[in-house]
Symmetry: C2
Subunit: 304 residues, 2 copies
Amino acid sequence: MEKFELHVLGCGSALPTTRHFPTSQIVNMRDKLFMIDCGEGTQLQFRKSRLKFSRLNHIFISHLHGDHCFGLLGLISTLNLLGRTAELHIHSPRGLDKLMMPMLEFFNHHMSYKVLFHEFGTKEATIIYEDRSLTVTTIPLRHRMPCCGFLFTEKQTPNHIIREMIDFYQVPIYELNRIKNGADYITPEGKIIANSLLTRPSSPPRSYAYCSDTIYLPSIVEQIKGVNLLFHEATFATEDAPRAKETYHTTAAQAAQIAKDADVKKLLIGHFSARYEDEDSLLKEASAIFSNTQLAKETLCISV
Amino acid sequence: MEKFELHVLGCGSALPTTRHFPTSQIVNMRDKLFMIDCGEGTQLQFRKSRLKFSRLNHIFISHLHGDHCFGLLGLISTLNLLGRTAELHIHSPRGLDKLMMPMLEFFNHHMSYKVLFHEFGTKEATIIYEDRSLTVTTIPLRHRMPCCGFLFTEKQTPNHIIREMIDFYQVPIYELNRIKNGADYITPEGKIIANSLLTRPSSPPRSYAYCSDTIYLPSIVEQIKGVNLLFHEATFATEDAPRAKETYHTTAAQAAQIAKDADVKKLLIGHFSARYEDEDSLLKEASAIFSNTQLAKETLCISV
């Protein structure tokens, strides 16, 4: 199966702790890297995860709180020091370029590459990135400021050729692409060989949903239905539910309820408040509602 | 002896590595904390060193390169989240406030405390901070942009009272402060008791010099003569001396030459280039010239 992995670079929230970095993740889709959020220290964590800067071309910022974007300045400067030439695309809600440009210009007199800012609206789900193997769609969330999650959806890959049958029917090589994409084969004698005899269906497309930061928001369930992996913020424990509501965050139990209602395959929780010594109680509360729950942690890498 | 310690929070240079954070240090003078430089991730390292944010009131920025100041935004925001009320003073070469204010205002709508920026010139040694126990003086350096190091000098503390002699001469309590500061005691009978009979001299004042970033600059030797501890940047090994000169940095051997010429008690080297797998060769080159040399490393704490 093609590579589709998630690296957690940081899973703390705004206040620093000795255990967690602020939010950042990397989606590795067939060795193309996509960054989600970029809290302070992200570039250090990126290096620790032994990932390659040259494979990173797109960064998605969920919202303009410092713990989700203060690492951009350092990262962009480092890529400049490394002599990068490829364009870097930063997708975010409105306003980031205006904030960043004066500092970028001061701290990087001669940029070796271009940083391109792309703004997205936060009210409606929108496709903001697409290539041959992937689409990225915004997931409108509800936080103290405009905020979106991101849905990474693999595109359906072509069917797998059954080598023995191709040989048996002496199918010419130039026909293979058409057959992979579903066409039947017509022999020189005019006989139709059904595609299903020549190919095996490829694996169903996989998907990853990132939902942070947000108040408990059942309206997202429909959009993330059945995803292979859901990352959902779980800033607070149930005993702090009033605080969660007040600050537009989610409890671990509420995150699990979303996972259950959306019938996802696996739930990863993170964005932990600094108030908890460890996250065992959060895991316990979530697992009681949705058993296939895992705690995010720094340098964790899991396959979607 | 009163506390006078140096904590190393980060000792790498601009490019991130898996081993080093960018530059930041804390001087702990009798439980008042003074920060020198504030690279990305400083607030995380601060927490790891188990230091208290409430004891930090002054930050000294040597120069406006990102690896020396990109951590300020996160640190200032965190102190705001924590509800700090005391003013925070940031001392730096010109231009930092203009760069930072738009971002600070956007990311911290309601500041619970004031951040006060103080600019210093970088051409002449100037006292930029003073309290009862300490002065901080700039050390003009030569880098690719205006840059100063900092000299932390303890003030002479009062003499120590010899309890037995005070009792013997029945010196009244209200005389003790004068005697600590060098006065003789005159008995009710008019007899003069020499101060030297009543007190022991306190330890000589200690000093710490921070010199980073700079090209090899023998002109600083006079100002840092005899300091107890010198931190000097040692970005490169001797084989990369041309690169050091070109980028206005120092080699480990040159740092040691400064330490030797200034007759300092101890040399700490840091600001290591990312190109070295480890810093053993830097230590070796420096120690050959100045034997009491130590490598900086993260979370190192040494007494000045």
